[in-house]
Chain length 205, copies 2
């Protein structure tokens, strides 16, 4: 199997499966089926079986998936069987929320730095973080070897901040700014946006 | 064509196409192809053609899609050729960010109310909004006929708030709390979570 050939659309579904599996595990459930998983995530059982089988034989006909095993495998595939340090760029409302977010625990990530270019925010505390000046961002991120960042600056500042992150060696950017970012080959961007989620639901109303 | 039979997974991709189309239109682009659109959103051209053709013949062999026409059609399909009023529940960091978010404009939604159960927050201003007490939420939402809500309360409070929203007649909930919500048939929940986005990128690192 050549992992590079697996379509991104399949990769994008794995975290959804993983989240559902982890929720089931928290409730003490030990095994599941593609049917049950499918009902939880709104994807057909056939699609789930097809997606997962791209990576190996992780379930058994009749008995389904052992949740702890499948969870481990998915974490391994997604490379979150480790902890990735994450920089937050922008100490506004969303930056604060991310710095304090409780949902990173046990899911492969931890915020380690928060930056802003607003001198009124630099030096302020957000829980255990002290907001750092964007002027030292490239150096600090490079020194710490951070590869993952979350970008929460205004749209007008987003491309400039992105260029700095790329220069610092960041390879994965979660973009909260409502704008497309230009990045070189090898740098990955995901855009998160409340509107696309809302639009998906109004279809049914 | 029976719209009810279109898989949710396809519906979920339409807002992604729409966002990319709107970005292109902002740059003055007038036509596009499934190839070009595919490169922008990371989905194969064949998949895009297949998804869009579920709803009709919106493009032409050789000339591709007229962006304004396809945008109008997608907005119609997703029922965002109108403006949906939205209630924000929870006036913390994320609630503030959503109340102030500039990305709703021209995309089918507007925040009209913000609620919190914390008496220290009730009565506070967030730009033009005054935070209302959750105790009046069911009544206010019902009176205003609001069907869409964004839930930004802590995980421990999320189910209770959801039950109130359902009672108030809300049919679509965007959930920012890191917890699964139980809702009756006919109520739609989308969960948004920075971690699933990050996990999709670490695969490539």
């Amino acid at each position: 199997m050549n992992a590079n050939k697996i379509p991104d659309i399949i990769i994008g579904r794995l975290p959804i499966y993983l989240r559902a599996l982890q929720r089931m595990a928290e409730k003490g459930v030990q095994t599941t089926s593609s049917q049950e998983l499918g009902e939880r995530v709104g994807i057909s059982a056939a699609q789930i079986r097809k997606d997962i089988s791209q990576f190996g034989e992780f379930g058994k006909q009749g008995t389904g998936y052992r949740i702890s095993f499948l969870t481990d495998k998915l974490r391994e595939i997604l490379k979150i069987d480790r902890i990735w340090d994450v920089a937050v760029v922008g100490a506004g409302d969303v930056g604060h929320a991310l710095a304090r977010y409780q949902g990173f625990v046990d899911r492969g990530f931890r915020v380690v730095m928060v930056f802003d270019n607003d001198q009124a925010k630099v030096g302020q505390k957000i829980d255990e973080f002290i907001v750092k000046d964007t002027s030292v961002m490239v150096e600090e991120i490079r020194k710490a070897g951070i590869q993952v960042a979350m970008l929460t600056v205004p749209a007008t500042a987003a491309q400039e901040a992105t260029d700095m992150l790329v220069k610092a060696g960041v390879k994965a950017i979660l973009n909260y700014a409502p704008i497309s970012l230009n990045v070189p080959e090898g740098v990955h961007v995901q855009h998160t946006d409340p509107v696309t989620h809302l639009q998906r639901m109004t279809y049914y109303l």
